[in-house]
């Protein structure tokens, strides 16, 4: 006992000492100036040098960029000395190199908290195509890239807005946008657009519509909400099934004809029920079939009309023909999501309904897959069926109403969504179309993928689907409805009718002013 007792105080003292030391160090470190600027690469004082590094991520040729990029920095200086006439606010300058007579206010000062989820591989792109060029033109504005991942983004923004301390630029979409607008927590941008001569016609009509609420624009789009649904087909697998890889299916009936040969080759044709996070497959195909989900005022549910019923029945029989139950046909992953590149990469499925980002993602994630792309198949049996892909959401940049430095926020939004550099380069590097019509004229984009024609056709066929602030609840019902007939708990027509009634009640309540 003596031995142990003597050793105790010593070891305890040791523990105490180390503990104190650790905590003192920790405290000291914590109290140290909290501005330990992480070793960022030196701010480009020489734009010409930094530019070549930037588009390393992009496939298209990099040669033209340095020259083009060097100009705005130089042009900005002399132009600033000769301000164009302006109406109130800081003096503005036109920077022609940024395209479409971009009107800038380089004297604006402030800090931007850019709340977004362009994470993972896109962070560098944001740095190179947005932040760096922006800071050259607007030396008085500091940009903080508050990047995280997408699922908790809205939750975080909601919390910040609720506490009265929102980030001034928020990346937001769909139901979130409608809700925030409804609660008057984001600004309508129409006046600012008019002041700075930003024309609505610069954008695809659908793109702007999906960022509007009750007739006003609440956010400017930075990537397309459209070009979400094209048909990708694995050419190698088609050959394996004895089909001609140059003749992808054009109609629903063509797809039906593929099922048997594909089955014989030990493969699966398609999991048609993976659309995206807020739209069901049934919605897509109903629109393809000449139908609609609801009217333009969102007052009446229309999905249980004959076009919708036909679409649902076709989808169900397609699944059953392939594998009898959806569980045998499902490609995996989260239900409310697009087919992910790694899911298609296992090369068991021939077809894949996906969006324009697929080119970039397949290249980086699964370059071994050989595929082609075409427009979505239509219903040969229905004369009203035509190519028409619904778009209800799309990412937008919005200004929070209760934020500070809103002038700076507007300059950022303007730069990233209208200027040639911002609006075009970011998406171009990903081989994606831009919501700005002009940007899509770029030879790099067209050369970036042989299927650009498909993308353009898809954009043109976009149909804007208006959403209410209660859209998340409607979306939930949509998925439940689809589950109901997909898992064969109800016949198609019955499921469509039942949920139409439920949704109609929600709509009626909403329009009557109740919640």
């Amino acid at each position: 006992m003596d031995e142990t007792q003597r050793s105790i105080p010593r070891s305890r003292r040791d523990v105490l000492r180390t503990g104190l030391l650790l905590s003192v160090t920790a405290l000291a470190a914590a109290c140290a100036p909290s501005t330990p600027a992480p070793a960022k690469p030196a701010e480009p004082a020489k734009p010409a040098e930094s530019k070549p590094a930037a588009p390393a991520a992009a496939a298209p040729a990099t040669a033209p960029k340095p020259a083009e990029a060097a100009k705005p920095a130089e042009a900005a200086k002399p132009a600033a000395a000769a301000p164009a006439a302006k109406t109130g606010g800081p003096t503005g300058t036109v920077i022609k190199e940024l395209g479409r007579d971009y009107l800038a206010y380089p004297d604006v000062k402030g800090t931007i908290q850019f709340s977004n989820c362009w994470a993972a591989s896109r962070v560098q792109l944001v740095e190179d195509t947005w932040i760096k060029p922006f800071q050259q033109i607007y030396p008085g504005i500091k940009v903080e890239n508050d990047v995280g991942n997408c699922p908790p983004l809205l939750e975080k923004q909601t919390t910040q807005v609720a506490a009265g301390a929102p980030p001034n630029v928020m990346m937001i979409r769909g139901g979130g946008l409608a809700f925030f607008a409804d609660q008057k927590k984001i600004d309508a941008l129409d006046d600012l657009m008019a002041r700075d001569k930003i024309e609505k016609s610069w954008y695809y009509e659908t793109e702007l519509k999906t960022r509007m609420h009750q007739g006003k624009v609440y956010g400017l789009p930075n990537v397309t909400g459209g070009a979400n649904f094209m048909l990708f087909y694995n050419t190698k697998l088609m050959e394996k099934a004895g089909l001609d890889p140059n003749k992808p299916p054009k109609t629903w009936q063509d797809v039906d004809a593929m099922v048997e040969p594909v089955k014989k080759a030990g493969l699966l044709t398609w999991d048609p029920f993976k659309a995206n996070a807020s739209q069901t497959a049934h919605e897509i195909f109903t629109y393809q079939n000449g139908g609609r989900y609801w009217d333009d005022e969102v007052k009446k549910i229309l999905w249980n009309e004959p076009a919708g019923v036909e679409a649902g029945e076709w989808l169900l029989q397609l699944v059953k023909a392939q594998g009898d139950k959806y569980e045998n046909v499902n490609i995996g992953g989260v239900r409310k999501d697009t087919i992910q590149p790694q899911e298609w990469a296992a090369e068991k499925y021939v077809l894949n309904m996906n969006g324009s980002w697929t080119f970039f993602l397949m290249k980086t994630t699964a370059p071994h897959v050989q595929y082609g792309a075409t427009t979505m198949p239509t219903n040969a049996k229905n004369p009203a069926s035509k190519l028409a892909t619904p778009a209800d959401v799309g990412w937008a940049f919005s200004i929070a109403t209760d934020a500070k430095d809103k002038e700076a926020a507007w300059e950022w939004i303007k730069f990233t969504t209208t200027s040639k550099m911002g609006a075009c380069k970011f998406v171009e590097a990903q081989n994606r179309p831009s919501p700005v019509i002009d940007c899509n004229d770029s030879p790099e984009l067209k050369g970036g993928t042989p299927y650009w024609g498909v993308v353009e056709a898809d954009l043109k066929a976009n149909v804007a689907v208006p959403v209410l602030p209660i859209h998340p609840k409607i979306a939930d019902l949509m998925y439940e409805m689809e589950d109901a007939f997909l898992y064969e708990r109800m016949p198609v027509k019955e499921a469509l009718d039942k949920y139409a009634a439920d949704a109609q009640k929600l709509l009626d309540d909403h329009h009557a002013g109740k919640r």
Binding site: G148, Q160, A366
Partner: protein, 298 residues
């Protein structure tokens, strides 16, 4: 007696084994069973991580080729490079998380042992009700408390500092208070009474009797507190917005983004759990080769 128990194989069983005269064969059989079962469980536990490691060492184009290959060809560390030295200052996040974790551990060990002692060894009116209240604070999901907490911290300007994450630890964490209370309740009363008779005041009793006897549970709390801080997601997400103050897990999740970069995410996951694994490996002895200084021995 103390001599015998010093270095035998199974501290709790050794003298007993000597007394019951367990046969050599019996011991071999016992060991086979133990190794067998534990080995099986360990294998199952490690199985997902072989895959994680495999993915982390693959170049992105290799990642999703089917059929999946366990051993990458070629083996590449580029994902680790991307994770640790990419556009996000991972090492800074590491430092931030470490600072928070150490402070939280100190706060928890200090406050929870004091509070637990109060609940365990004192009788006072309202004690059991207060304890139930303590437990009940665990029953309201954090997601609904998030908004008011944020509003509160926002109003005192604590957002973007470590304070919302560190200060509450100095006022006790209910989970750990509960755990320590359970342990303190097993400390024999005679010890405490003996110390009190010797003239120690309550704080001295706490420091000289309760704390040393609780090394296993203190070690457990330290590890859990460290881990909880390391992996805490929701609180840092909302309270630490500026990049300079973020923690490692936020860095990890930025690899998820709109379309996840799985190989880099796996590399980042591995990098972020290495510290905890190392700490556990080194300190697990606290649980077993117990330095249980028990006054009852001999």
């Amino acid at each position: 007696m103390s001599v015998a128990s010093a270095h035998e194989e199974t501290p709790g069983r050794s003298s007993a084994a000597m007394v019951t005269g367990r046969s050599q064969a019996g011991r071999i059989a016992e060991r086979t069973v133990v190794y067998g079962l534990l080995g099986l469980v360990a294998f199952i536990m490690l199985f997902p991580f072989t895959w994680v490691l495999s993915l982390a060492l693959k170049t992105p184009p290799q990642a999703f080729i089917y059929p999946p290959a366990l051993i990458p060809d070629p083996i590449s560390f580029e994902n680790f490079g991307k994770a640790l030295f990419g556009p996000l200052p991972f090492l800074l996040f590491f430092q931030n998380t470490l600072i928070i974790a150490i402070l939280v551990i100190v706060g928890d060990l200090l406050s929870c042992s004091l509070i637990a002692y109060g609940f365990a060894r004192f009788r006072f009116p309202g004690r059991d009700i207060l304890f139930l209240i303590l437990l009940s604070t665990l029953m309201v999901p954090f997601i609904v408390r998030l908004v008011p907490l944020f509003v509160m911290f926002q109003s005192v300007g604590w957002i973007n500092t470590f304070l919302p994450l560190v200060v509450p630890a100095f006022f006790g964490t209910p989970l750990f208070i509960f755990l320590m209370r359970q342990f303190f309740l097993t400390v024999p009363l005679e010890l405490i009474d003996a110390a009190r008779i010797d003239g120690a005041n309550e704080l001295q009793v706490w420091w000289r009797i309760m704390v040393p006897l609780s090394k296993p549970v203190m070690a457990a709390v330290a590890i859990f507190a460290f881990q909880a801080t390391w992996n805490d997601f929701l609180a840092p997400l909302v309270f630490l917005q500026r990049r300079e103050v973020r923690t490692i897990i936020l860095g990890l999740y930025s690899f998820l983004g709109i379309n996840p970069d799985y190989p880099t995410l796996m590399a980042a996951t591995i990098a972020s759990i290495i510290p905890i694994v190392v700490i556990f490996f080194l300190f697990q002895n606290f649980f077993v080769k117990g330095i249980t200084v028990s006054g009852l021995k001999g």
